[in-house]
């Protein structure tokens, strides 16, 4: 199975988030929980669905990642994880926390 994390947008502000430990949602991909097996992916999805029902997030789906540092596989997901490529002063890439993690 391709390794994957669960991603969504936070209901309140639409921000891109990833499912982390204990059902917490984090804006930072490096904190996300990684499903290595299909069973794990399914279990994570269940947690995410409950969270969606509780109105924390919307639009949950599994997102393939690669590498040690959890790089998204698709261009779309790389842009979601960072912000617009045309405005590096905006989105996650512009936040001080982002640089610290890079």
């Amino acid at each position: 199975m391709t390794r994957q994390v669960i991603t969504a947008n936070r209901l309140r502000d639409g921000d891109v988030v990833y499912l982390a430990e204990n059902g917490r949602w984090t804006p930072w991909l490096d904190e996300a929980s990684v499903a290595e097996t299909a069973a794990e992916a399914e279990a994570f999805m269940k947690i995410a669905e409950e969270s969606e029902a509780a109105c924390d997030v919307i639009g949950i789906y599994g997102m393939p990642v690669e590498g040690e540092r959890l790089e998204p596989v698709s261009t779309r997901e790389r842009i979601r994880a960072k912000g617009p490529t045309t405005r590096t002063d905006l989105g996650k890439q512009a936040e001080p926390d982002f640089a610290k993690r890079a």
Partner: protein, 551 residues
Amino acid sequence: MYQYDAYDHRLVRERVAQFRGQVVRRLKGDLTEEEFRPLRLMNGLYLQLHAYMLRVAVPYGTLSSEQLRMLARIARKYDKGYGHFTTRQNIQYNWLNLEDVPDLLADLASVEMHAIQTSGNCIRNVTADQYAGVSADEIEDPRIYAEIIRQWSTLHPEFSFLPRKFKIAVTGAPKDRAAVRVHDIGLQMRRNEKGEAGFEVLVGGGLGRTPIIAKTIRPFLPKRDLLSYLEAILRVYNQLGRRDNLHKARIKILVQSVGAERFTEMVEAEWQHLRDGALELPAETIAHIRAFFAAPAYETLEAKVPAFEAKRFEDRVFSEWCRTNLAPHKVPGYAIVNISLKATGEAPGDASAEQMETVADLAERHSFGELRVTHAQNLVLPHVKLADVFAVWQALAAAGLASANIGLITDTITCPGLDYCNLANARSIPVAQQISERFEALERQHDIGDLKIKISGCINACGHHHVGHIGLLGVDKKGEEFYQITLGGDAEEKASIGDIVGPAFAREKAVDAVETIVETYLARRQNGERFLDTYRRLGLAPFKEQLYDAR
């Protein structure tokens, strides 16, 4: 400009209050996303890649200084200090919090604006010629009729759940600056043999997955019949449009499948029940709306202004800007000033809050407090005294708004693409930026002349790529961004859909391919031919050869 009456005010205020309640219920969990989504879409609120996006209607592209100032304030207060002007003459904000949106809508309502019917399967914001009321070739100001259509279509109970979205464009001039042939309904003002003004009615145009040029179903429609005839078209569509297949649901597919002739018969038959009824537009109603668009208090001026001519002579940069960005005004001594939102390396159509304020101030001081948004993602100061043009240009230049490229190769139409849009296959903005950098030299741009490049990040074609002289469509090939190129599209009177030149180009090759196309044109053009003329004469072959064989 049109001013809300008590009814408009109430309608918009009530809608803000309703949406406020809906947001509270959504956040509390009383509404599921499935229940809430159609409600937010009815108010122009989408979820995009990074956050919520709100699309605000700019009816027929006309704004007051006060409204633009509010748009700037909103950009600062609720967003990240900028907005994006779209091909539908609207503005979009990209970084909103759901909780803030009701307050934002209340702020908009305070300047007679809203986001109603900017999304969903209803009649969308009506678009019009950006030179409405000021161009010399115009029969009548199209905004009078666009406003009448706006009032008729706003919350129209029968047409709130159409098979699919529905777009209407109106032009009052023979020169089509509103791309009426690629709309669900296009209205082009004409005169009949008696010299009376009315509309040629075109139906079933559109881009997207199946690009089609609209067909004329009525060469002349008297003005009094405008609404009853539109109602007849919408009724036929509402009944017969395909609700079972998203890709076949637009009116263009219906017109195509039954044929324009049969479609016309159905509309005419339906119209027999509707004409001369409650929807008839009496001359007084038209006059009442026309009064809102009355010409401002122009001064009587000389057509030639020596001080302006002198500046043009002395200042080369100013003179170059005048060459592309000014258009003739119908009143002597005035000019139409186009403000390009296509500065080199910037995102086409984006304007910062400060830039919006600069333009709002200039409009207030020099253009009777009025401005326009164009479908080509630029702004217009419609009535500037020639004597003021130099000062206006200086102020624009100081705000980074004096790009002298209207109608040239770097004046691209570009959708938000994968940098923002949830539906995108590929990025659009970086391609436009690269084009603006590659062709930055003005001398070269003028040598290339009239060349419209249009870029979409997916087949939905918000960037109108099918009708670009050169069109670029972003496609996804195994997770990589590729661009399919079309040639020979045109959105004006002789509208045509571009031809696909061949296999798509990888991202790093796309702008080289554009340059090859341009070079091929330059090498092959004959005396005074525009790109489109050369293409129409030669067809795809020489371009294909240079792009594929020569490699």
